[in-house]
Symmetry: C2
Subunit: 171 residues, 2 copies
């Protein structure tokens, strides 16, 4: 299935000069959405896993569905101030300035095996921060999965410590 | 399955005096999460539906998984400024002040049949706004589904124009 035809380019979003890859047509199309989930799930069907972590907000769409399909629990990694319990935080670098992600302290224990999921791999900064959060709780990262990878931004290089998979690659 | 034991009370979140219902233990538990999804899906297995709309952010977790399981497309309803294409907007009332939701203009057409999903029904203001957005595009609302309902806040009364279902009720 040619998934690229369900991703549309939106120029100058969120800022002038940026060509945004909009995945909403893929989500909108039942077969394209289901096929995407099934392909990512198949990638991890033989990997020992305890939890799937999703990164707010679009990451939740894929991570929760993959968790359901793999019969695993789902753990949200959220923007600062959104999680109600005791959290671990990490600041990470953006193109301009920094941002912060949080995870519940009690969400993971030593040696829990984790798959992290987000919709898009660009420079890898967000996923790098999420991986550091997961490892700070003693868990083992078994994989980082993305629907879309912008390969020209070299995010895989930044994430080279961990096994990374992306379903749709733009070069 | 007694799902209430997977929902924990967090006092004074997000503000002093509010007792927050934290659903992350339910998401964390594979059987509780899967059972919740399956129970909501079963509720709509005989309802004619074209799309499932999820409300950012926690609504995405349930709406996307329910869409996948029902072989339907998923449509995100997001906070202002997050959707990259042309949008319809709606302002809705909060306890103090207003907030705004958006949907892509081309996400729905006349007479499309829609299920809206969110994690929590409190006063119903957010879902009421989302329903108005969906109807502004000419679509038909076949149901509003929630994981948790705080029945003492009378959200169902506010949503009485549409068929509403909640899996876990706190009275």
């Amino acid at each position: 299935m040619n998934l690229k035809k369900y991703i549309r380019d939106i120029p100058d979003f969120p800022k002038p000069g940026i060509l945004f890859k909009d995945i909403t047509p893929l989500l909108h199309h039942p077969q394209a959405f289901a096929y995407s989930i099934d392909q990512i799930v198949q990638q991890y069907s033989n990997t020992p896993l305890d939890y799937v972590c999703g990164i707010e907000s679009r990451g939740f769409i894929f991570a929760s569905t993959i968790a359901y399909k793999l019969n695993l629990g789902f753990i949200p990694i959220r923007k600062v101030g959104k999680l109600p319990g005791k959290t671990q935080s990490i600041q990470y670098q953006l193109e301009y300035g920094t941002d912060e992600l949080q995870i519940h302290e009690d969400a993971l224990q030593n040696n829990d095996k984790v798959l992290l999921v987000d919709d898009l791999l660009a420079t890898g900064g967000t996923m790098y921060g999420a991986c550091q959060l997961v490892e700070s709780l003693g868990a083992q990262i078994q994989g980082c999965a993305f629907l879309v990878e912008l390969a020209f931004l070299s995010g895989k290089e930044k994430l080279k410590k961990w096994p990374t998979f992306s379903l749709i690659e733009f070069s």
